[in-house]
């Protein structure tokens, strides 16, 4: 086995990657007229917003469930159980984000938008998988 220090290091790396994901763009679409819709953990930003764009923010709180799972991961540095719960829950949350991403991409392509995945989502997936590897490893070590 990889040992407890390495497992904890993986959890920490997962938390750092996840924290970075909270401030970077998750995905974006560029439509005609250079209108760009950027989805982040804490809201949707519309660049070059046209006048007839609907008011309101479609995704202000995607970061909330992820922030909670990240807190569980941090607690998991000392409590093995919390690490497993945090990593599994974060994987579940990423699952929902993944199906939303596929759906949004479909809509964007249909409306001739140029869809792109942001670094935030890459970091979120990498962070989740790294933390999960650490959380699984830490379960096998004596507390």
């Amino acid at each position: 086995m990889i040992g407890r220090p390495t497992a904890v290091a993986l959890i920490v790396a997962g938390v750092v990657l996840t924290a970075t994901a909270m401030v970077l763009p998750w995905y974006s679409t560029v439509y005609a007229g250079n209108v760009e819709v950027v989805v982040r953990a804490w809201g949707t930003q519309v660049v070059n917003k046209p006048g007839d764009w609907p008011a309101g923010d479609l995704s202000p709180w995607y970061g909330l469930p992820v922030a909670l799972t990240a807190v569980l991961l941090v607690a998991g540095i000392w409590i093995n159980r919390a690490a497993l719960a945090g990593a599994a829950a974060q994987l579940g949350a990423v699952g929902i984000t993944a199906v939303l991403l596929i759906s949004e991409r479909g809509h964007a392509v249909e409306q001739q938008g140029d869809f792109a995945i942001g670094y935030g989502l890459v970091f979120l997936v990498a962070g989740t998988l790294t933390a999960l590897a650490g959380a699984l490893a830490v379960q096998r070590e004596p507390a």
């Binding site: 609907p54 008011a55 309101g56 923010d57 479609l58 995704s59 202000p60 709180w61 995607y62 909330l64 469930p65 992820v66 909670l68 799972t69 159980r81 497993l84 719960a85 945090g86 599994a88 829950a89 974060q90 994987l91 579940g92 949350a93 699952g95 929902i96 984000t97 993944a98 199906v99 939303l100 596929i102 759906s103 949004e104 991409r105 479909g106 809509h107 249909e110 379960q139």
Partner: protein
């Protein structure tokens, strides 16, 4: 206790899968003042706007089904049950946030056109939350440690 936890885990998985076929959010909105209200229903497997199906509707049923399968596998191992329950909670939490955002977005965007607008959660989300509670309950009584 082994039997009780197995029954609870089975129920939790069944409830989670059943929830994907129930409405997660239901909106009754008018897009222009002179039009009749259209029903906008999202389930785990489809999004319908009136009679029109959204070809790219998000398939929330997939992560829910994956978490439910893990919960079911947890009948054999307590830690798997625990991880499955946590995964189901994560799926439910993120889905809840998405639905809450979508419901309030449509409410805010259309209320001036249609004061009679109705927008809210469907029964699916409540069944899904119940499944999470059942799954954690099963973990608590699970004897294998």
């Amino acid at each position: 206790m082994k039997l009780l936890s197995a029954v609870l885990l089975g129920l939790a998985a069944a409830a989670a899968v059943a929830a994907t076929f129930l409405p997660l959010s239901e909106l009754l909105i008018r897009l222009t003042p002179d039009q009749p209200q259209t029903e906008f229903v999202t389930t785990g497997w489809s999004t319908h706007f009136g009679g029109t199906k959204d070809e790219h509707g998000p398939l929330f049923g997939i992560p829910v089904a994956a978490a439910a399968a893990t919960v079911l596998l947890g009948i054999r191992w307590r830690k798997v049950a625990y991880a499955g329950a946590a995964a189901l909670a994560g799926v439910t939490g993120m889905l809840f946030v998405y639905l809450l955002n979508a419901i309030s977005f449509h409410k805010a965007g259309n209320i001036t056109i249609d004061p009679g607008l109705e927008a809210g959660f469907g029964n699916g989300i409540w069944v899904l939350i119940s499944a999470v509670v059942l799954a954690f309950g099963a973990v608590v009584v699970h004897p294998d440690d």
